[in-house]
Subunit: 406 residues, 3 copies
């Protein structure tokens, strides 16, 4: 690595030619504050003054060509899974890959689109769809949900945070075993006389683990309390979505989003094969319940139940989960979203009317924790399932059959 | 060239430091797939393992300053003409230059504007005009034509394809004489739940020739049939446009676009001098007829008929030609567009109503062929004219004097 | 410097590896015409063939990370004050700093946002607020003022000129003493069939001086006369704004912008402390009078009157001054704008109706001169004050108490 760094220095300008090392355990990859941007790097245990039996790394590269020219990509390879983080797109995650499971999907949008190529206002506020292809897209923070008017202002689909480049980006490794590997980014959503939010996200994993987590903090820097929305738009397909795939979770209540979804409420947990020509989306508004630690638990597994993802999140900050079943053709993007949020995905005006739109106080910070695990093989999947079954004992899902939206 | 390539490697990052050579006859200049972007290069016959009596080259450079910072420009110099292709702007062509003829014009917009600086929604959907200065701008593909509402959606002027950077860009040279030089680009126009088109364009010429051609393929990657529009907005001025310039072609039918154009229908073929202060545009909807090979033939020559451009295109894919006479002042952009298309340039809603809006089937590909020649000297111009005169024998132009649009 | 230039050449491509020196006294830093972009440089007296007792420099760097990736910044350090000019943002000025006075403010927007990240249409035409944080932002040129409809077109807040990168950028130093240091940029605001303006701005200062000036020329390149607007949105806070700060000037007439401002008309000259939660803005429309040389004179000083900025401008081109009192919380951006302009800041439609909207003739150029001085210490402040008091002798401010806007 030292040689690569020296190579970078030879190429870069005087002000940007060094990675900043606040300590052995922390390396800055890009920073507004320090005016640093490292285009390409590969960091290993040795760069943090550590040795490791597991061959892990954190690398950064710049993408070229088409709509992805200039996009920066950070990959954590913990020896077991690879996590592709996109600092240029609000610290979204393109995909997570183990040997035989991929978190992600095949959108018709193939490139990782630079935000500068996206006009959120386009097409009546649907411009967000021009770059929609990541496994994990955060929606929010000033607003999220469907486009449309709220008090005379056009709410563009799912807000702005996914199209704001991170201002600060660093890699940290715990000095103490098991040497957690963390990538932290800071993303600012701000306009004069309006929103003034900071998202600080840490995406971390342990060497050799099949588990990773998001520890996010959203702060309101304004002197006024503010409405805000957060939605973790996580999208699954690949090996996990097929006819017979099934979503399970600690579910208290389910309500279809609209009349079309209401027709298939009975089968909301299971999935169809992709359509051959076209299929409309079905959306269900799910209210989960939490375990004694305050976490809801969900999973999605394939038909054979030998591949799965499981995940949990803190319901104090994320009291809702939106299930988005898009059983469209493969060409059009066969996918399901399982999306923890602090509201459901209708327009902000509707969420406010329904009493779901929260406020964050002046100066307040709110914490979000999401833990994801990849399960390969029947026994691993069963173990994840049995945990959810155990939690569901004594609970009965309440079905609200009449949708809120027409 | 080898030295230049090595120089580039010394400058570039590890992942982008090599041009990809699939064979001696093909060199990749930029590629999403291979994560390659070569900023500056000059390729000659030797780089393709050939020798040549004609001193031809294909070069690539990056533009700097103002609105063109970061724009990539590829120039084919075949020894006789130079063709400036803009991969960053959907493979548009800025200008084509021989010793004494230029295809192109003097727009008030002087720079080659990077698409990232353009907001198509701006000014009620007229943002496209912020960068309008190329000889050849493709319009489409999801929609083209005048801005306005179509089923609740704002169609921005002339669509998006001109503002999408090419995802793949390569140079090919035929191993066999006469060693055709080709630049091929792939441009993707796609959004989730919407358009999913690919334009693959090959712009090619022979060493020492005054002729070049576009061989374009538009493919619908969706699982659904889709409406689409294609317009080759080719704009002429410079040595070819003046008082007395004349457009000729294999014309079956002419209709003025609006009342203003209707007043000058009699003189639609000839041109006035530029206005001193301002002049409105006149548009004519021309339906050409094809020769036995399926090609329509047109030309534009100066007053003396000693300089001309002639061109032909396949009418199965491009059944219409829009003539745009913008006899405005030189400062405001004196120019005429002669624009083969699959519709006329009214809003998509109007074209649909008139039965002109075509569909492309799921998975279908449609081929577009346009051949342009530069003619210098009376005899060369006469030869091109006589071909059109010959084809027009026995044909009479049908005039529809009432415009469709008000 | 020679070494740094050679270093740059080693890094840059063949076409961009040299700064252009038209003469010893002029160095091009970026240029569309010459296809040059120097990312990093530091120029001193020696680079212009001069020696200097005062250690002055002009440097250029590129900013990295977040919303400011790729923004270019030019700093004039004249030995006494530093001026941060942003060529990427229409030659705006981020801040001016002496030992104990800063022209500038603390906007909630912290980064110098690249125009490519800004959509002026966003949020009903308020997108300009996404990057509002500079000391000096020019507004205009086709239009300025509040967003809203003018003849069917959305006027976005304060126009486009602040979001257009300079096409040409050079540094000049007078060969003759006192060796004025000038940075000149050319910014083009143009669209086909619309605006066609050039702003040529020269920002200059003398070595060791506490004064600097703008000498701007706006030219209409169209063949038609055009309406246009120019507003120098200069924003003050830092050491100059606090409870008891006071604005003084050669004021002929004052009118509140709206009813809210009308309530505090009596105290329009003085400032309150920042609000703790939120405060609305108060705007006053001021018509200044000029001295015998045609210049109006204004100043802003702190409560103690030991720190001040004074400025003057030519009233033939800039007949109005808008006072914008934004006594909001520190978090939300406590600031006042003192903004010479050729109209007031209502929507263009309103300014036209009030007879204030000027035209610039085809081919005409109009000159703008603004001179700013930083005053440290009571005696320096008093001297600036006494000049204004002297000019005000025999003048009485006319108050128009009824606002034009509701």
């Amino acid at each position: 690595m030292k040689n690569i760094l020296m190579g970078l220095c030879a190429l870069a300008t005087a002000t940007s030619c060094q990675m900043h090392r606040a300590a052995d355990s922390q390396i800055t990859l890009s920073s507004v504050e320090k005016n640093i941007a490292i285009s390409d790097a590969k960091l290993t245990a040795a760069d943090f003054g550590l040795s490791s039996d597991i061959d892990w790394s954190v690398s950064k590269k710049t993408l070229h060509g088409g709509m992805q020219e200039g996009v920066e990509l950070v990959t954590i390879n913990n020896g077991e899974i690879e996590i592709d983080i996109i600092p240029t797109r609000g610290m979204n995650v393109m995909s997570v890959r183990s040997k035989d499971i991929t978190l992600g999907w095949d959108s018709p949008v193939k490139e990782i689109v630079h935000p500068r190529n996206v006009n959120l206002n386009y097409n009546g506020g649907l411009g967000w769809l021009d770059s929609f292809n990541e496994w994990m897209v955060r929606c929010g923070l000033e607003y999220s949900g469907h486009p449309g008017d709220d008090n005379g202002r056009l709410m563009t689909l799912h807000g702005r945070i996914a199209h704001i480049p991170a201002s600060e980006l660093k890699v940290e490794v715990d000095k103490l075993p098991p040497h957690r590997i963390s990538v932290t980014g800071i993303v600012n959503e701000v306009w004069f006389k309006g929103a003034n939010f900071t998202l600080e996200t840490t995406i971390s994993t342990l060497p050799g683990s099949n588990t990773f987590r998001f520890d996010d903090v959203v702060t309101n820097n304004s002197s006024q309390d503010k409405e805000f929305q957060v939605l973790y738009h996580a999208n699954f397909a690949k090996e996990l979505l097929e006819k017979g795939s099934r979503m399970e979770g600690t579910i208290a209540e389910v309500q279809p989003f609209n009349d079309y979804a209401a027709k298939s409420l009975d089968s909301y947990e299971t999935y169809d094969a992709p359509a051959s020509v076209w299929a409309d989306e079905k959306v269900y508004q799910i209210t989960p319940f939490a375990d004694k630690n305050g976490f809801a638990h969900f999973m999605l597994h394939n038909q054979k139940a030998d591949k799965a993802v499981s995940f949990s999140f803190n319901t104090d900050a994320l009291p809702y989960l939106t299930q988005w079943k898009n059983e469209d053709s493969r060409e059009n993007g066969y996918v399901t979203g399982l999306e923890p949020g602090n509201t459901f995905p209708a327009n902000r005006a509707h969420e406010r009317k329904m009493g779901r739109l929260p406020k964050i106080k002046a100066g307040e910070s709110i914490n979000y924790h999401l833990v994801y695990s990849l399960h390969s093989g029947k026994s691993s999947v069963e173990k994840a399932q049995s945990k959810i079954i155990q939690l569901n004992k004594g609970h009965k899902v309440k079905f609200i059959k009449t949708p809120e939206n027409k």
